[in-house]
């Protein structure tokens, strides 16, 4: 019987990586990024990658790893402000960049995975985002056409997964991961915890295993970008708890 379960990130990417491939990588900032699969993609040596990801990691972590090694040719992102090397490569003309509004990016990925080649949105009307895009009027308002996005490989981070690839995400680490799981020709997932099929209540599965071809359990560093805490001297629950 074929199995979706692989032992390591390197094994899970075996035979999937190639030059000029398009990769989707989940996460918002460093939250919910497939750390181990990104490192394995770097080690695969694939060049001229088009990376679709909301952000570009930070210097030396997340997708920042693949920028350092110049393996990324083009990024499709909504916000890349946390990465100095990215800014340097872009301003020097060494890197292509396509900015998408965050909601447009999320919807393009959702549409790509759902078999919808294009859709209309009012986001970006009257801005540089609209340049060269077909427009249509609905109820007297102007909308621009955006296209669906797909990838050769989607790299996804989930909290728990079972051996059939059914997934649950944790808190705000969910973000772009569920849509990206649907939009990859092959979707590879790393989870904090891999469990036997049947462990989940089917009512509480976020992503059904049909979208997942390969899965590994791997330990993540889960680096925090902007640690913000409140004074432990303040009484607990003194601010709104509802």
């Amino acid at each position: 019987m074929s199995s979706k379960v692989f032992k390591t990130a390197a094994e899970a990417l075996q035979g999937l990586t190639f030059d000029s491939m398009t990769v989707m990588s989940g996460g918002f900032g460093l939250c919910g990024i497939p750390e181990n699969l990104i490192a394995a993609l770097r080690d695969s040596g694939a060049q001229n990658i088009t990376a679709i990801s909301n952000n570009a990691g930070v210097d030396g972590f997340g997708l920042g790893l693949l920028l350092e090694t110049r393996q990324i040719k083009k990024m499709i992102s909504s916000y890349v402000g946390e990465n100095k090397e990215f800014e340097r490569q872009f301003l020097a003309g060494e890197l292509d960049l396509e900015f998408n509004p965050q909601g447009t990016l999320a919807e393009r990925i959702r549409a790509g995975g759902a078999g919808i080649p294009g859709f209309y949105t009012k986001t970006g009307v009257g801005t540089v985002i609209a340049e060269g895009k077909p427009t249509m009027e609905f109820d007297g308002e102007e909308y621009i056409m955006e296209t669906g996005l797909k990838a050769d490989v989607s790299l996804v981070k989930a909290w728990r997964g079972d051996t059939q690839g059914n997934l649950q995400f944790k808190k705000t680490a969910r973000n772009f991961n569920p849509m990206m799981a649907t939009a990859g020709k092959v979707t590879v997932v790393e989870v904090d915890e891999l469990v036997e099929v049947g462990s989940f209540d089917p009512n509480y599965i976020h992503t059904p295993g049909i979208y997942v071809q390969r899965i590994i359990e791997a330990k993540c560093e889960k680096r925090i970008e902007n640690m913000t805490t409140r004074d432990p001297g303040l009484g607990r629950g003194e601010r709104g708890s509802a």
């Binding site: 909504s78 990215f86 872009f90 509004p101 919807e107 705000t172 913000t228 432990p232 709104g240």
Partner: protein, 212 residues
């Protein structure tokens, strides 16, 4: 005395009504959460996939899987819910969020906003700002009235690449409040910061406004 950043946030918080679903941008708008008026219960949306954003955690509560759009660690409330980014922006674009309070680099007299890019200088990206101004029911911009060189940031037309066109309903600066009602094309001066004279505001404003 012109308003401080905190004063501007406090004034912006007066725009929150009981029961509102609210999206706060990064910078001064984040401070608005500290000034929500007594008796007003609002639910904060975080565009990375959460409704019901709670306060910052105590050091022993920090969870790397729970952050806000500014990538700060936060906490959840009993009302909280999590969802994916497509759903988050369905909420935003679909007009389900009552108010967005966001920072600005420039505002035009026609309600255009520029807040995401300085060509050749700053390459960060728009994040969710274009979706917010396109979809949220009411958009309030908070910014300093002038730049460091003393030039007006409230202009006849924006000079920087736009985030959205004709989408801002109220502008709060260190000098006062400028608003326009539904269907009104021009902004009216509705409040001045304490001690600020109308002549000072006129001298520092290039946009064509309704003065008083």
């Amino acid at each position: 005395m012109a308003w401080t950043r905190d004063d501007m946030a406090k004034r912006a918080a007066q725009e929150l009504k009981d029961g509102f679903y609210v999206n706060l941008g990064i910078g001064i708008p984040t401070l608005v959460a500290n000034h929500i008026p007594d008796g007003v219960d609002v639910t904060l949306q975080s565009e990375n996939g959460m409704l019901g954003m709670g306060p910052f955690p105590y050091p022993d509560e920090v969870d790397p899987d729970l952050i806000n759009a500014g990538k700060q660690t936060i906490t959840e409330l009993r009302r909280s819910s999590y969802f994916n980014s497509a759903e988050s922006f369905a909420m935003i674009r679909g007009g389900h969020i009552d108010i967005s309070i966001l920072g600005a680099m420039e505002i035009s007299q026609g309600g255009d906003i520029a807040n995401w890019m300085i060509p050749g200088k700053m390459v960060k990206g728009m994040g969710g700002a274009m979706d917010l101004v396109a979809g949220v029911k009411r958009c309030v911009a908070v910014m300093d009235h002038t730049n460091r060189a003393g030039k007006s940031k409230f202009l006849p037309e924006c000079t920087l690449p736009l985030t959205g066109r004709n989408c801002i309903d109220m502008v709060i600066t260190d000098l006062g409040v400028f608003s326009r009602g539904e269907g009104e094309t021009r902004f009216r001066v509705t409040e001045l910061a304490p001690g600020v004279e109308i002549d000072e505001v006129k001298a520092k404003t290039e946009a064509d406004l309704v003065w008083g």
